[in-house]
Assembly symmetry: C2
Homo-oligomer: 107 residues x 2
């Protein structure tokens, strides 16, 4: 079963999309136009990427007149942090077990 991390990892896997997200983290709220100006791809492409990011909870949008402002939602990175430390935890506990084993063998 594909777990909940899927959408998050997939959303961040594309370089263009990740660049957009990074920029929103660095510089804060941006309009679609501003993002498009530096994205190196067309405006519809940027909109599509923003759609994916939004669906993954990585960005919020705010409508103001005819323009839309996007901003990063840092909280969405939490599952990624959790996953990473979980992997590290598994690693560590296996290491501990090995240590125990060696200790037991030693005496």
């Amino acid at each position: 079963m594909p777990n909940a991390h899927d959408e998050l990892f997939r959303a961040l896997a594309d370089p263009t999309r990740r660049a957009i997200f990074e920029r929103l983290c660095r510089e804060g709220e941006q309009t679609v136009g501003a993002l498009t100006a530096l994205a190196g791809v067309s405006q519809p492409a940027v909109s599509k990427h923003l759609g994916v990011l939004k669906h993954a909870g990585l960005v919020r949008d705010r409508h103001e007149g005819r323009q839309t402002h996007y901003s990063a939602q840092l909280g969405a990175l939490a599952p990624l942090i959790d996953w990473t430390s979980q992997m590290a935890g598994f690693w560590q506990s296996r290491f501990d077990n090995l240590e125990d084993l060696l200790k037991r063998m030693d005496q």
Copy 2:
């Protein structure tokens, strides 16, 4: 320019591949056969996934007779951790700037 995180994020984006990596983290070194038995895909598919993980530095292989043992390389997750905390850092510094601004406006 696609940065160095690309390969890492892409490698972890696929559920099957991530499951293999998670298993290696949980249970330690495994043969291709053992991994295939529970992966839900064919042995060549598993080999291909292991190739991708290896290329991304996430696993090591060790040959022993006719079987190959793979193990997780936890250190490869470091760039991911760095990237995450960098994003958090940008966020924080923008927040600090805002705080400064408000403080300056206040007086």
